[in-house]
């Protein structure tokens, strides 16, 4: 089809209307602005490409070009997501983009030509409706984005250097460290919608404590030398992304412990490296997804879901754990897939047969679904004890 510039813009905005409204609804449901920001980034990237590139280079756009152009728009959208630091999780963001793109294709090739006889020969223009859309849609999008901007939590910048803690956060905010920011004595989060990012915590009772707070995000943080757990969360929902926890000096601490949060939104731990400690990542009575982490040299278990927890453990790498690599216990329900567990050592000193160097262990009425894990050089690759079940997917 040969679009006019006006036709491109009108078709773009008309196709984006429904996804943008859907994004508003999702944002309300999640109580988070990222869906709206993502949709706006998508529209912005598309319009910029329409004006700056497509109109100049594509006097005629064959139908098959939708796929390469879609990939280009996806790249541009994700670049904007990164540039503006939009907190959109990758997978939902991709699905949102794909669904919106597919809708735009259906409308462009079938919907508008059915509704409007002259759609193709008008170069994608939508008549008076299109003019109204061009006038109103940007206003609406800017209004929603403005609201998002006005209601977003304030950002507190921590300058590079050492700050004496503990820092106690009691209001919603973004605590943003410059490169080289160190907090001594820990961080305590006691408010919803708090983001802590780009800082190193040294020492403290717990490295980072999250207490009765929802929608907390911990990104690019590191913790070392905490007296107890690296990250300790109670009755909270949080996302921990790209963290590093060093508990090598403390064989009795947990690396990351998220507990007693089963009535909260699910939590997620992803992309973290946890070294040493009693348990690397553990949940008690919590719904959680634990994925793409590296856990090593733990003295009790590397990854553990216990006390009626429920969730997924996938794509993690576990090595050199003492006793048990991945553990699902006490009526918990765990999907354990695509993990690599190697070189688990038997804990002979404990005298406990359930610590004989299991790659994956299901215990006490727990239910495990196993799929495609790589379990190498573990004395016992997989085991189930005390009325626990393991099902291969």
């Amino acid at each position: 089809m040969s679009y006019t510039l006006r036709g491109r813009i009108e078709s773009r905005l008309a196709a984006a209307l429904l996804p943008f409204l859907a994004a508003c609804a999702i944002a309300l449901g999640l109580e988070a602005w990222w869906p709206v920001e993502l949709a706006a980034a998508m529209i912005g990237a598309g319009l910029a490409l329409d004006v700056g590139l497509y109109h100049r280079l594509l006097p005629y756009q064959p139908a098959w070009a939708a796929i390469p152009l879609g990939l280009l728009e996806l790249t541009a959208t994700m670049a904007l997501v990164r540039l503006f630091d939009i907190a959109a999780p990758l997978e939902p963001a991709l699905w949102f983009f794909v669904a919106s793109w597919a809708l735009a294709q259906v409308l462009g090739h079938a919907g508008w030509p059915l509704v409007r006889l002259t759609y193709a020969e008008d170069g994608g223009e939508l008549g008076r409706g299109g003019v109204g859309l061009v006038a109103l849609a940007p206003t609406f999008v800017l209004l929603v984005l403005g609201t998002a901007w006005a209601t977003r939590p304030p950002t507190v910048h921590l300058s590079a250097g050492v700050h004496q803690g503990p820092i106690v956060i009691t209001t919603s905010q973004i605590l943003d460290g410059e490169p080289g920011t160190i907090v001594r004595g820990g961080v305590v989060v006691r408010a919803d919608d708090v983001t802590v990012r780009d800082l190193a915590v040294i020492g403290g009772e717990y490295g980072i404590e999250v207490d009765r707070a929802d929608g907390v995000r911990l990104e690019n943080v590191s913790v070392s030398d905490a007296k107890l757990d690296g990250i300790h969360a109670r009755r909270s929902s949080l996302t921990i992304r790209n963290c590093r926890i060093d508990s090598l000096g403390n064989p009795w601490a947990q690396g990351i412990d998220i507990s007693f949060s089963n009535d909260k939104h699910p939590s997620r731990v992803t992309g973290c490296t946890v070294v040493g400690g009693l348990e690397g990542i553990v949940t008690h009575f919590t719904m959680a997804m634990i994925d793409r982490n590296h856990v090593s040299r733990t003295t009790l278990r590397a990854i553990s879901m216990t006390e009626m927890s429920m969730g997924e453990i996938h794509d993690n790498e576990v090595w050199d754990a003492l006793g048990v690599g991945i553990f699902c216990n006490d009526m918990s329900m765990c999907e354990i897939e695509d993990n690599v567990v190697v070189a688990t050592r038997p804990d002979r000193a404990s005298g406990d047969a359930a610590r004989a160097g299991y790659g994956v262990l299901s215990s006490f009425h727990a239910e495990v679904e196993l799929g495609d894990n790589e379990l190498a050089t573990n004395p016992v690759p997989v085991g189930a004890v005390a009325d626990a079940h393991i099902v291969d997917k």
Partner: protein
């Protein structure tokens, strides 16, 4: 008085009829004049003559008023196969002539076409107060109508003057077998098709042409099919536009192995060569297309003369909406579709072009409608 009279019941008239019907205009409000009520009565023998088996493109291969869906979903359902849908998604679907004819017959049956056809030849169209009067049939019965669409088709086949009367000559669009030695005159799509057809039939072929043909996928650049290119086209001066139209109608056929391989192979065997004379050949096929120009059509020529309509060279000057400005106002419309509508839409003789004229006529009818 009918609301719309369509003069010419070929494909251009048929497409216009379907467009009006889809917008809710009733068969009793439309009169179609043509001695042959079959909308493909003129097109089918031409397609058969050049052994055409597929339409040129998907968009130029159906008469639905809307550009979507074309014939691919229909064919997929009929054959119980997904292939037509895959082809349409990849811009590779070209309906077969058989599928197209079936589709025309189906539309004809369900749209009420035959109710609206008056099987008479139109002798004269004249503007009267508040509309037009159409004289049809030998008796010259007069039919009043508020809006008229002239869908007159091509005004005859073109045969070079020096070959007129030569008993060896047949036009490519007339039924013909192939002799053993064939001269094919012309260098466009029809000529290229005839080269391959004659070679496939075992003939020795001589291509007679004044210049080498252009190789282009379509005669027109794609933007000229939509507002993007048309706005620029409509902004040209009359002389620029006439020059552009002449340039666009220069003979051409598409590039590609499908055309080159058989010709290269036949050249190597000595069965295909290019020359500038038809001397010594048993059969001469004129693949020289159609006659061009309003003056070759008696109805249009008379209308132009009687009403002093504006022309430029061989073209009748039209507004961008494919209407004749001097005879269109708030109460009536004289519109032109098909080959004679090139001044408004360079590809007017394609199905896409016929829809362009029909949609614009529809817009005017809707605006001019009175209770």
């Amino acid at each position: 008085m009918s609301t719309v009279a369509i003069v010419g019941g070929g494909l251009a008239g048929f497409v216009a009829y379907q467009t009006l019907r889809a917008a809710g205009v009733e068969p009793r409000e439309i009169v179609v004049f043509d001695p042959d009520p079959d909308p493909v009565g003129a097109w089918r023998p031409r397609a058969e003559a050049i052994r055409q088996v597929r339409m040129r493109s998907e968009s130029d291969g159906h008469c639905y008023p809307r550009s979507f869906p074309g014939l691919a979903p229909r064919e997929a359902v009929r054959r119980g196969e997904l292939m037509p849908l895959v082809q349409t998604a990849c811009n590779r679907y070209r309906p077969s002539v058989e599928e197209f004819l079936r589709h025309v017959a189906e539309l004809r049956g369900r749209s009420g076409w035959d109710e609206s056809v008056v099987a008479d030849r139109v002798e004269r169209v004249s503007a009267v107060r508040g509309g037009f009067e159409i004289e049809a049939g030998d008796g010259g019965s007069a039919w009043p109508s508020r809006h008229v669409l002239l869908a007159l088709g091509h005004p005859g086949l073109a045969v070079p003057g020096e070959l007129a009367g030569d008993p060896r000559v047949v036009h490519a669009y007339e039924p013909h077998p192939y002799a053993r030695r064939v001269a094919i005159v012309g260098a466009g799509m029809a000529a290229a098709t005839e080269w391959l057809n004659a070679l496939a039939a075992g003939a020795e072929v001589v291509s007679v042409r004044r210049r080498d043909p252009l190789r282009r996928a379509l005669n027109l650049p794609r933007p000229l099919f939509s507002k993007r290119g048309l706005e620029q086209f409509h902004a040209t001066s009359p002389s620029e536009r006439a020059e552009l139209l002449a340039e666009l109608s220069a003979p051409s056929y598409p590039p590609g192995q499908r055309w080159d391989e058989p010709l290269d192979a036949a050249s190597a065997e000595g069965r295909f060569r290019v020359t500038d004379s038809v001397d010594g050949e048993e059969q001469v096929i004129c693949a020289t297309g159609f006659r061009h120009g309003y003056e070759h059509d008696p109805v249009l020529h008379r209308l132009v003369e009687e009403h002093g309509l504006e022309t430029h060279g061989r073209w009748l000057v039209l507004t961008p909406h494919s209407t004749v400005a001097a005879l269109s106002d708030g109460t009536r419309t004289l519109a032109v579709a098909g080959a004679q509508g090139q001044w408004a839409y360079p590809a007017a003789d394609t199905l896409v072009g016929m829809k362009y004229a029909a949609r614009r006529l529809l817009r005017r009818i809707t605006r001019c409608r009175t209770p």
